[in-house]
Structures are given as structure tokens and as C-alpha cells.
């Protein structure tokens, strides 16, 4: 590799190679260093001087000419984020930014018969208030792109990314004439790098962030933004945190980059991905059946600096047809840079990656140089030639119940590739996500995003469930048992457009498995599903909707706030009379307040926390836990006491000791020790008799103590079913501290 990587490739070497029938390549050249690249999902980086270059023939002695746009007035400071060539190779769409004060906008460059610019590009001028990037042509004379413009309107702030800093990019589409603008329902984090598949689906990478899940994976959606499907990267299928910049080789086979989420200048190793397997002579596709081959095993899969002559790959593109094949192996067009290709190492040396264009042979691992301008990043090579248009997918049928609301549901709630549910599901909780744009920088010690409860849909006798919810919102679901406790947490956000539907066969069913939905046969769809639609102005704060035949002892709140709701329940039940931060407190011979001891290993500073469920008036002021001059976080004493050492303290350089267990486990009240103390009454059907409790005939804490003891503690009592439900909902939502009501503003 070290030798081959430095061997130049002259015209003779490609004359009979896989590019012999290719007359020209288009290459995106950007001026290094392109500042602000950030993680693999960022999209706003700008440096003037970007251009599209035509290389003909595609060999080391080919002639490079500027295709666009320095020859046209007004484009002197242009940078280009990305581009795509039309199926007939007669036009190019690109995302261009005219200056630092401009946003990326979409431009179409028409080509003449010689593959040269026929004139200056036209601007689709969608909305200069927002970025429009990464455009691709899709069938039907349309363009799919990514944008930070919000499908919910200008007055609704776009979601923030995982760090609550950058605005997320979302899917949209428009006709090549600049009409018919449409936006996809939003993910809670970025979506980037769209590309077409022969099936007509749009493949892209999206940042999955829900609790511990924090990575980029491949997802596909129809061009009308219906029928979202996971493709690759989840369920342990990827060797890296993030998989991105995918391109289809053949149906069922992709090449993609794979890397740490950050520090690698949006470059990584190359994976050859198979999306399915032959089983019994039939080809099946599903994430569980997918597999990969690492074509560049020497390239680090993480964020560490790469070795000399190993480098990293910025783009990978298949060469179509037999010319791209080398047996089972592939010839690929790649953009590659030598050296560490790691931002900190390069930054410390005052250097930048020098990406050039190469022909990569996966059989030998060799790279044959095609083009490299040492003063520019040479990236995203594409063959300038017509290509077959993917099949057009008909727009999805409306859900039949509402043009304004999205239909969500499942045909068989208990069916999942993740294994059987650990109990009988009687309902499905639906939760809506939000992010830092609502004014919170943190949501709680477990670091789950903000979410609010939308409602609980009943599971019918045939195991189906369905509900109508607002479209365009990220949501996730949790089947619940008869006590309202989550049986499993679906740890991805989904979104469905208004009038559209997302009714799955089960959780994680195979992609090639048809789901036959027969209204009138599926019980949940036999009549209008429960309607959880809400006006934005009151969303999250309105009354809980319960189907008439599924009565619940609801709390009346959809947006649970620790300090308002959960602390209110603790106060009402007088929990703080015993659990008062006093390590010596004994109740009928039992210690009431155990302790946690945090030790910062670097400074040997120690902080001891004693269990305390009393209300804190100044959140964080008195109850934050600190090392030297620094707090870890500022939440109330009860939050720390019940959530415990939820953070990954080991990675933070903190050791934990003491005897206080974690009482509330995020998204897992079912296995939380607190559940035994609460011992909730049955909700479905509602039954408060001792025999119907979650742990039948066991006491509900503190009722195991004598009447005298309880009287001595201000008549402390057990939680009511409504109060218990608050604990269950907050735990299963991710142990959140802040709810929408903490904003002090109705709606959002």
C-alpha cells in the first residue's frame, strides 16, 4: 500500500482500465482549509474559491478545465458544498454560497453537448434565510436536498444538534423549475448525504441520538418522504460509530464511509455493504441480515490519526456496470488524503489534508492517482455521462383517516427482531421529542433529549394498535404493561408527515417483507384511531386524551417537569420527612438515607451526597454537586438521589462509592428498584385493590410502617396512582428533569 499509494498513474494505465470508456469526470475543488467542518454531519463550512472542474480524459494527464463558476460575474467568492449530475448528464445541480454573509442555495448549471457550461447557473432561490445543501436529482424532474428550514414554519425554531449548538439539517425537495417545494417530517438531529438508489428510494445518513444511541446511520425514504426504512448501521451492524456518504453499487450493495463521528474531517474508511442475505434460495433484506467488508482495513475506524500512506477517504463512488467490477471486488473512484487526516493533529502542525482523486482497486487495495491540485481539496468525483434514472415511486396513499394528522401504529405489537416483550402489552406510549431550541441546554442526568408524552394507544385483542398524531414531529414509542410501565423502549426517533402513515408489522421487521394493512380487518384500524392531534399553541400542555373505552387515572399533564410534577408528588406524600439528607435518620430500625461518595480522581476532591427527597427552591444553587470550583450539573437533590450516578462518571474521571443504589433507570422503570417501593396499582383496567398491584399484595412504600411511625412523619403516605404514574412516565421518558412547562410559556 505504501508503495502503490505513491505511484503515479499515467494515461497508459487507465487506457484499458475501468475508466477507459469514460470521457470526463467532474470534480469538486474547495479551498483548504475549509473551516467549520466539525463532525461528519455538519454542512455549513465555507471558504471562497470553490469550483467545479471537468477532467478529460479522467487520467493523470487529463486536462482540467473550470466548469463553474469563476468565469461568471457574481460568483467570485463562491464556495460549493456539493453537487449532482442529472441522469441525462445535461445539467448539474449544486449548493453554492456566494459569500460568508450568504447561505447555501441551490443552482442549476446547464451543460452543452460537449459537457461544458452552456451559460451561468440559474438560482432556485428557495429562501435566502436558510441553507440548502447536498442536492441530488430524483425522478420526476425533482431535486432532493438538505436544509435547516423548518417544515413547521419560520416561527418555529429548528431542532438543535446533540450538543444543542448547531441547527439540524432536514430533507426537502423542489422541482428543477423551482416550484413545488416540500419538506420532510423532521428528525431530531441532522440528516445528510442523500443519494439515489435504483429502487427509487433516497438513501441518506442521519444522526441517531436518543439516550445512549449517538451515531450516524443509513436510512432510506421514498422521494415523497414516506416509508422511512433503516438500512445499515444499527443493531451492531457497523464497525464504526458513524456510517455516511453512501453510494449504491448495485441493488442491495452499497459503498460508504465509516468513521468516528468527529475529528476525521468527514473522512473515513470504506465499507462494501451488503444489505441482505440469501436464505433458502430467497434474497432477504433487513438490517439484521446486512453485512460489510472493510475495503481499507488499515484506516482507523475511530478518530485517531491515520498512519502515513494510509490516510482517510473523503468520498467513494462506484463505477457503474461491469467496468466497476473486478470479480467480487470493486473499482472505485475515491477522494483520498495522505497523513493523519485528523483535525487536531493537522491543526497543531498548521497543516490541512490534501485530498486528491484516485482510482481504488479493492482487490489489491491500490490507489492510482488521477488528479490532485495541491492547492485545493479535490473531492466528490463523478462520471460525466448519462446514467439510468431510478424507478419512480408512486406517492404514498393517504392514511384514510386524516389529511392533517399522521397515522402511526403496529399490526402486531409483540413482534420484534429484538426478541419477545417481557410482558403483555396493553398499550403503546407515544412520546414527542424536542431539543435545545426550546431553551434548555440540558434535560437531565441521563442526557436524553427533551420529550413529552403524547398519549397511550390501546393494544387491541389482535395485538394491533394505532393512533393519529401531529405530523412532522419526531416521536418514539414504548409498549406498556397493565401498570403503565414500558416493556421496551424504541430508541430511535421516527417522523411521519401529515396525512401519511407509519404502520409497521412489528418492530424491526424485514425491509422486503410486505405489510398487508386491511382496514376493517386490523382491529386498531377498524374504526378511527384515537386522535392525539394538538394545536401547536397548546401542545404539550393540553389535557391528556384517553379513548372512552380505555380510561386512565391520568395526571392531566403531558409535559412532566421534575420540580413541578415529581417533586410535587414527593411533597404531597411527605417523602422528605424521612428522606431528609440526614445520614443518621432511622425509621423502625432501618436507615432512611443512604449515601453516595463521588471522588474526582485527578484532584482527589470528594463529595458526599445523602439521600434527600425534600424540595429545593433554588435548583442547583444548593443541590448541585461540586468538585473544587466546578459543578458537574445542577439538578435538585431528589433528582440526584433517585437518578443516582446515571452519568458515565468513570469517563469523567470520577469514582463512585457508597451504598445508595440507582433507583430510577432511564427508559426502564420496569427494572428500576423504585418500582418495588411505588408498587403501582393496575391501570388497565383500573384496579386499586392490593392484589392488582404490580407486586401483588405487597405494600406500597411507606405503608409497611406502623400508623404511629407514619403519624410521626407528618402522616406520610403512599403515592396515589396518578402520582405513581408521574414517576413511571418520567423514568420511561429518560429520567428527564425539564419539561416544556418549565419554559413558562404555553405551547412551543
Amino acid at each position: 500500500l505504501a508503495i502503490l499509494g505513491t505511484v503515479a498513474c499515467g494515461k497508459d494505465e487507465t487506457a484499458d482500465g475501468p475508466l477507459k470508456d469514460v470521457s470526463a469526470l467532474v470534480i469538486l475543488q474547495r479551498t483548504p482549509p475549509v473551516g467549520g467542518m466539525g463532525d461528519v454531519l455538519q454542512y455549513t463550512a465555507y471558504q471562497p474559491g470553490g469550483r467545479l472542474t471537468r477532467l478529460s480524459p479522467p487520467s493523470a494527464d487529463g486536462v482540467a478545465t473550470t466548469l463553474c463558476c469563476s468565469q461568471f460575474p457574481g460568483f467570485e467568492q463562491l464556495d460549493i458544498n456539493s453537487y449532482d449530475i442529472a441522469f441525462d448528464a445535461k445539467s448539474i445541480v449544486f449548493a453554492g454560497r456566494l459569500s460568508a454573509s450568504d447561505n447555501y442555495s441551490l443552482y442549476i448549471l446547464t451543460l452543452n453537448d460537449l459537457g461544458e457550461a452552456a451559460g451561468p447557473p440559474t438560482n432556485l432561490a428557495i429562501d435566502p434565510n436558510y441553507h440548502f445543501v447536498q442536492p441530488i436529482f430524483v425522478p420526476g424532474q425533482r431535486i432532493v436536498f438538505m436544509t435547516n428550514k423548518n417544515v413547521e414554519g419560520d416561527d418555529v425554531p429548528q431542532f438543535k444538534d446533540e450538543y444543542e449548538r448547531g441547527e439540524t439539517s432536514q430533507l426537502g425537495s423542489i422541482s428543477v423549475m423551482g416550484t413545488g417545494l416540500e419538506f420532510a417530517p423532521r428528525n431530531l438531529s441532522h440528516r445528510v448525504n442523500p443519494t439515489m438508489m435504483a429502487s427509487g428510494q433516497v438513501l441518506f445518513a442521519e444522526w441517531r441520538h436518543l439516550g445512549d444511541n449517538n451515531s450516524a446511520q443509513l436510512t432510506a425514504v421514498n422521494p415523497d418522504f414516506s416509508q422511512t426504512r433503516e438500512i445499515f448501521g444499527r443493531e451492531g451492524s457497523s464497525p464504526c460509530n458513524s456510517v455516511f456518504k453512501a453510494r449504491e453499487v448495485d441493488p442491495g450493495r452499497l459503498v460508504a464511509l465509516c468513521s468516528s463521528r468527529d475529528r476525521t474531517i468527514q473522512a473515513g474508511k470504506i465499507l462494501d455493504i451488503s444489505l441482505g442475505q440469501m436464505i433458502g434460495g430467497v434474497y432477504h433484506q433487513s438490517e439484521a441480515l446486512s453485512s460489510f467488508r472493510d475495503l481499507t482495513p488499515l484506516v482507523p475506524g475511530g478518530r485517531e490519526p491515520s498512519d502515513p500512506n494510509v490516510g482517510r477517504y473523503y468520498n467513494v463512488a462506484p463505477i457503474p456496470g461491469d467496468a466497476g467490477k473486478n470479480g467480487d471486488d470493486l473499482f472505485l473512484l475515491v477522494s483520498w488524503a495522505n497523513g493523519p487526516v485528523e483535525d487536531e493533529t493537522l491543526g497543531a502542525a498548521g497543516l490541512y489534508a490534501d485530498f486528491g482523486i484516485f482510482l481504488f482497486d479493492s482487490r489489491t487495495g491500490s490507489r492510482l492517482p488521477i488528479f490532485n491540485d495541491p492547492d485545493m481539496w479535490d473531492v466528490d468525483p463523478r462520471i460525466l455521462a448519462p446514467r439510468p434514472a431510478p424507478q419512480a415511486i408512486e406517492p404514498s396513499a393517504p392514511n384514510g383517516f386524516s389529511d392533517q394528522l399522521a397515522l402511526v401504529g403496529g399490526l402486531t405489537v409483540s413482534r420484534s427482531s429484538l426478541g419477545a416483550l417481557p410482558g403483555e402489552a396493553v398499550g403503546v406510549n407515544i412520546l414527542e421529542g424536542f431539543s435545545g431550541e426550546e431553551g434548555f441546554m440540558e434535560f437531565g442526568l441521563d442526557e436524553h433529549e427533551g420529550s413529552k408524552y403524547i398519549g397511550t394507544a390501546r393494544v387491541m385483542s389482535d395485538n394491533s394498535w394505532a393512533a393519529l398524531i401531529n405530523g412532522n414531529i419526531p416521536f418514539h414509542v414504548q409498549p406498556i404493561d397493565a401498570w403503565g410501565v414500558s416493556l421496551r423502549n424504541e430508541d430511535i426517533w421516527q417522523a411521519v408527515g401529515p396525512g401519511d402513515s407509519a404502520v409497521c408489522g412489528g418492530c424491526h421487521e424485514a425491509r422486503d417483507e410486505a405489510q398487508v394493512i386491511q382496514p376493517g380487518v386490523v382491529q386498531a384500524l377498524a374504526q378511527r384511531p384515537v386522535d392525539f392531534g394538538e394545536a401547536r399553541a397548546t401542545r404539550g400542555l393540553g389535557p391528556v386524551v384517553t379513548p372512552g373505552d380505555f380510561p386512565l387515572p391520568e395526571t392531566g399533564s403531558k409535559s412532566y417537569s421534575w420540580n413541578t410534577d415529581l417533586q410535587g408528588a414527593l411533597d404531597a406524600a411527605k417523602c422528605g420527612t424521612c428522606h431528609n439528607g440526614d445520614p443518621a435518620k432511622m425509621v423502625e430500625g432501618k436507615r432512611a438515607n443512604r449515601q453516595l461518595i463521588f471522588t474526582e480522581m485527578a484532584t482527589m476532591t470528594q463529595f458526599t451526597y445523602t439521600f434527600d427527597l425534600r424540595r429545593s427552591d433554588g435548583v442547583g444553587e444548593d443541590y448541585g454537586y461540586t468538585f473544587g470550583d466546578e459543578f458537574i450539573q445542577t439538578y435538585s437533590a431528589s433528582h440526584l438521589g433517585l437518578i443516582g450516578y446515571a452519568m458515565d462518571l468513570g469517563e469523567m474521571g470520577i469514582e463512585l462509592s457508597g451504598d445508595l443504589p440507582r433507583l430510577m433507570l432511564a427508559t426502564n422503570m420496569r427494572e428500576s428498584p423504585l418500582l418495588r417501593y411505588i408498587n403501582p396499582s393496575k391501570l388497565y383496567p383500573y384496579d386499586t385493590s392490593p392484589g392488582a398491584r404490580r407486586f401483588p399484595n405487597m405494600p406500597q412504600h411507606p405503608m409497611e410502617f406502623s400508623a404511629d411511625t407514619l403519624a410521626a412523619h407528618d402522616n406520610a403516605r403512599a403515592l396515589t396512582p396518578q402520582e405513581a404514574l408521574i414517576f413511571i412516565r418520567i423514568a420511561d421518558a429518560g429520567n428527564q428533569f425539564y419539561g416544556l412547562r418549565d419554559r413558562g410559556v404555553a405551547g412551543y
Partner: protein
């Protein structure tokens, strides 16, 4: 409840200390970050490196890192100031101290420190900072870039309690402050944009650019005449493009003539194409 003590002062057994130091030296704290990595990034003076490293250090417990990061609040690169302030928002004790210092700086006389303080408070996004930021918007003794930073901070906080100062900022003598006021106004929710209409023909190209964007977003009929003038005469093609787009969003057929002129005669292709698209939308 709180019982903070320093084990060093308690002279913990040397063996334990050695063990702990050994462990700490090999551990990579936070999400892949540590003190050395942060210092390496800071010393590189590379904005991307610093931003990435501090993001990774979001949860890092590192008291040694606090002073170096606080010093970044006075870096000349706004992106570095911003990420340093963001990192400090994760450390509430430090944040409170820095916020107090920032308030004092805004009430002082050093314009550079005041600008940096306003940027810091803007990243903190805490409404407690609104009063001092409002005061700063009224400080004519400061250069306009300080008031611009204060207006930007009010926009980031996005509270209605900053609205009066933001609207006052639309009349600032400095173009940078007026532009910041326009951007801050657009961050307020539920507004109709009316106060922006008169700025369509502002003397500052940056203001005209942003006002054209705002006029399209709010469909500001009151800005139409100014936008039509801008479309035909502005020296900046991006301003003309945005004006053409905004006129299409406003959608008044009376703009047809100027849009047709721009579509036919403008020297710049993207102005022509924006005008053409707008002509379609007002048919």
C-alpha cells in the same frame, strides 16, 4: 447535605495516591478529551480544533481547564469565544462567576472586553442578562460593534423583554448594530416584521441584505417600494437577489414591472433567475 473535602488535605495514604494518579494518567476523560488534548487544541490556535475539543470535553471534570478556557472568551475569533462560553454553560459555578464578570465588563469602558462579554452572555442565553444587555444597546459611548454584540445576545436569548431594545437597535448609527438588530428581531417568535420595513433601503449593504430576507419571510408589504428600488439599483448582487425573492413572497402584482426588468437586464444570473421565479409566483 453537601460535604466537600479535599482528600489531599486529609493526607490520604500515599499508596492510594499513587494508585489514583496512575489511573488518572492513563484515563481518557470526558468523551475522548482530557486536559492535554484541550491545551493542545488551544495551543494550535486552530478554531476547528478548539471547537471540536471543547465539544468533546462537554462533560469533562477538569478544574485545570477552566482558566485556559475562560481566556478563550477574549479570543479575537468569535467562533472560539462562542464555544468557550458554551463549554462554561456546562459548569454552572464557573458560569455564574463569568456572568458576573461579563456584567461588570459591559458596565465598564473597554469596548473589546464589553463585546466579548456580550458574546458570552449571548451564549449563556440566560434572561438574567437582559437588563445589562439592554443598557449596552443604549451605550453611545461604545463603538457600534459592542452594541451589535449586545443585540446579537438579546436575539439569542429571544425574550420579549429584549424586544424594545432590539427595535431601538434598528435605528443605531452603526450598520453592524442595525444588522444585528434585524437578525435579533427575526429570532423573536410571533412577530410580524413591521419595524423592519423602513430599513429596506438602508445605507449599509449588510442591513439591506438581511432586511430583504426578513421582508420575504414576513411578507412585508411596507418594504415593497424599498425592495423594488433596491432590485433595480443596488450595487450588491446578493442584495438584489434577495430583494427579487422577497418581492415574490410579498406577491404584489405591482412589482411585476421591476421584476421583469431585473429578469431581463440584470448582469448577474442569479438575480435574473430569482426575479424570474418571483414573477411566476405573483402570476
Amino acid at each position: 447535605m453537601r460535604n466537600v473535602m479535599n482528600l489531599k488535605k486529609l493526607a490520604v495514604a500515599a499508596l492510594l495516591g499513587v494508585m489514583v494518579i496512575g489511573l488518572a494518567g492513563t484515563a481518557e476523560a470526558g468523551r475522548g478529551s482530557n486536559y492535554s488534548a484541550i491545551m493542545s487544541a488551544i495551543n494550535s490556535r486552530n478554531a476547528d480544533s478548539i471547537i471540536n475539543e471543547l465539544e468533546r470535553a462537554e462533560k469533562l471534570i477538569c478544574t485545570r481547564c477552566i482558566d485556559p478556557v475562560i481566556r478563550l472568551l477574549d479570543n479575537e475569533d468569535y467562533r472560539i469565544r462562542e464555544v468557550a462560553a458554551w463549554w462554561i454553560t456546562r459548569r454552572p459555578v464557573t458560569k455564574r462567576i463569568v456572568a458576573k464578570t461579563a456584567e461588570a465588563r459591559l458596565r465598564g469602558t473597554d469596548p473589546r472586553l464589553a463585546r466579548n462579554a456580550a458574546d458570552t452572555l449571548g451564549t449563556f442565553q440566560h434572561p438574567d442578562a437582559i437588563p445589562v444587555l439592554v443598557e449596552t444597546v443604549g451605550r453611545s459611548d461604545f463603538p457600534s460593534y459592542v452594541r451589535a454584540s449586545a443585540l446579537q445576545a438579546l436575539g439569542r436569548i429571544g425574550s420579549i423583554h429584549g424586544e424594545a431594545a432590539i427595535i431601538a437597535g434598528l435605528s443605531d448609527t452603526g450598520g453592524d448594530a442595525r444588522m444585528a438588530a434585524v437578525e435579533a428581531y427575526m429570532r423573536l417568535r410571533g412577530r410580524d416584521g413591521a419595524p423592519l420595513a423602513t430599513l429596506a433601503g438602508d445605507s449599509d449593504a449588510g442591513v439591506r441584505l438581511r432586511v430583504a430576507q426578513a421582508a420575504g419571510r414576513y411578507r412585508l408589504e411596507g418594504a415593497r417600494a424599498g425592495l423594488e428600488q433596491v432590485l433595480l439599483t443596488d450595487a450588491d448582487p446578493m442584495v438584489r437577489r434577495n430583494a427579487a425573492w422577497a418581492l415574490g413572497k410579498i406577491g404584489n402584482a405591482a412589482s411585476r414591472t421591476v421584476l421583469e426588468q431585473a429578469a431581463a437586464n440584470d448582469d448577474i444570473s442569479y438575480v435574473r433567475s430569482a426575479a424570474n421565479l418571483s414573477l411566476r409566483s405573483i402570476r
